[in-house]
């Protein structure tokens, strides 16, 4: 899960960067940048959940 999250982070960034080059119109650009940010947020949540310390390892 952590790996999936860490892979989603650059995927979201790729969408953000692509939006700058592909969409000169402010509305579309904002939309795709926010979509990329949402994917990054999803990746961050997955990475955090995947990195949670397992209860069975606790002392």
């Amino acid at each position: 899960m952590k790996l999936a999250g860490l892979l989603l982070l650059p995927a979201g960034w790729g969408i953000v960067i692509s939006a700058l080059s592909l969409f000169p119109q402010a509305g579309l650009r904002w939309g795709f940048v926010l979509a990329g940010l949402c994917i990054e947020a999803g990746g961050l949540i997955l990475a955090f959940l995947g990195a949670r310390y397992p209860k069975e390892a606790a002392e």
Partner: protein
């Protein structure tokens, strides 16, 4: 970096004097890191801070500055969508090609010898009481030699984030006057990757999944560090604003006041919040609030009015106290000094605040002609934050993961039981401080 023709000699002299103040910032942070750690690792904490500072300075001068460069120096460009994307400088290693005079490029290099050390100290706080010295040194070298210069080039060296304004009409491009992104958020995200790789300290999480309280061994160090750090931060924000945002020296008073107001508001928010939640103010969270306000101020210091700086500090204080609890309790990230919340979370808020308050450019008196209003500036800031989270975090994690595969970064269980002072250094910070069996 502002071109030398645009800055007069007196401005550069003032800037040099401000840079002399900056070492107070890493000194204060080292003291804070030590206070938040355990007594049996206090000497090691201070030595690891010194080691990180030394390695960061040497590696940055060897490789880092050549990859970071400054505007006007040859750089590698990628053509994408018909626009040039300046992604890395092509300067010679070992500071060759840099005239050691009073040019802005020389002062930018001098300032960043200290700021890269500051960035390197942030993960040291997170890895307290379990990060081996050798691994800490190599990880610091990776940060100072690659991750930091790469992002700093994009922001301060005339790279693609700085050119978002000229290439895509996004305000003035990504603005980061005092290093909230290039120093603080980058250091905070490196700290997060270290926390993930090292895992929590032994006994931090109990069988029911809840965290055990490991209070810092000396809160007086922490609070004194908070006071010590202020002149360094004012020097950093003011020198950075002059060199990287083109602020006039007449703005130094505003920058200093904004820095202090943001820290004060943030600290008071943390104090009120913890008083409300726990019945008494929590000293360590108040210290985190103070630092969070300083971090947020690094982004906005030269662009906003004092009232806006107070608002930025209020939000930073609330965010930091919430983030410390969420990370420790719900996400099981063991961060003894709250460095991830302080540097990454408050830094991201500060960077976004630069775009949220669009009148800032008017205050600066340099709203570029033909450039749209604040929404373009906000988008530039959002792209910068997305780059930090989407590219720099995986990069920092990947490099540290690779390092961990080659040479495990966490100290052996015996070392953790014994304490880092005895295990790594063979002697403690407080040799006369003995706990007797009957105690």
């Amino acid at each position: 970096v502002t071109s030398s023709s645009a800055v007069d000699a007196s401005t550069l002299t003032v800037c040099a004097l401000l840079i002399v103040l900056v070492p107070f910032a890493p000194a204060g942070l080292a003291l804070i890191n030590t206070g938040f750690g355990r007594a049996r690792g206090a000497a090691y904490a201070m030595l690891s801070s010194l080691t990180a500072t030394a390695i960061a300075a040497v590696v940055y001068c060897f490789f880092g500055f050549s990859w970071e460069g400054f505007p006007g120096r040859p750089a590698n460009l990628i053509l994408l969508g018909g626009k040039p994307w300046d992604w890395i400088s092509r300067g010679p290693f070992l500071l060759r090609g840099l005239a050691f005079n009073d040019s802005p490029a020389t002062l930018a290099m001098l300032l960043q010898v200290f700021t890269v050390s500051l960035a390197a100290l942030i993960p040291v706080s997170t890895g307290a009481d379990r990060w081996r010295l050798r691994s800490l040194g190599i990880s610091t070298a990776l940060l100072a030699g690659w991750t930091y210069p790469l992002f700093a080039h994009w922001v301060w060296g005339g790279g693609w984030l700085a050119q978002l304004g000229s290439n895509f009409g996004l305000g003035d491009g990504f603005l980061d006057a005092g290093g909230a992104g290039a120093v603080q958020v980058l250091g905070g995200l490196s700290a997060l990757s270290i926390a993930w790789i090292l895992g929590p300290r032994r006994g931090k999480y109990l069988a029911d999944g809840g965290p055990a309280a490991f209070p810092g061994h000396n809160i007086v160090y922490v609070l004194f560090g908070c006071a010590l750090i202020v002149p360094g931060w004012i020097g950093l924000n003011a020198a950075g604003s002059i060199l990287f945002a083109g602020a006039a020296p007449s703005r130094i008073a505003l920058i200093a006041v904004n820095t202090l107001l943001s820290a004060s508001a943030s600290c008071l928010t943390a104090m009120a919040g913890t008083r409300f939640r726990f019945g008494k103010p929590d000293a360590s969270l108040c210290a985190n609030g103070w630092l969070g306000g300083l971090v947020a101020s690094s982004a906005v210091c030269c662009f906003v009015t004092p009232m806006v700086a107070i608002f930025v500090g209020l939000v930073a204080g609330a965010l930091v106290t919430i983030a410390v609890e969420v990370l420790e309790v719900h996400l099981t990230v063991d961060d003894p000094g709250g460095a991830i919340s302080v540097h990454a979370v408050a830094g991201i808020w500060g960077l976004l605040a630069v775009g949220i308050f669009p009148h800032i450019l008017a205050i600066r008196g340099s709203l570029p002609s033909g450039v749209e209003s604040g929404s373009g500036q906000l988008l530039a800031q959002v792209v910068g934050v997305a780059t930090l989270l989407g590219l720099m975090l995986p990069m920092a994690y990947g490099l540290n993961w690779l390092l961990n595969r080659i040479d495990p970064q966490r100290v052996a269980p015996r070392g953790e039981r014994l304490g880092m002072d005895m295990h790594e250094l063979g002697g403690g910070a407080y040799p006369e401080f003995v706990v007797h069996r009957e105690d």
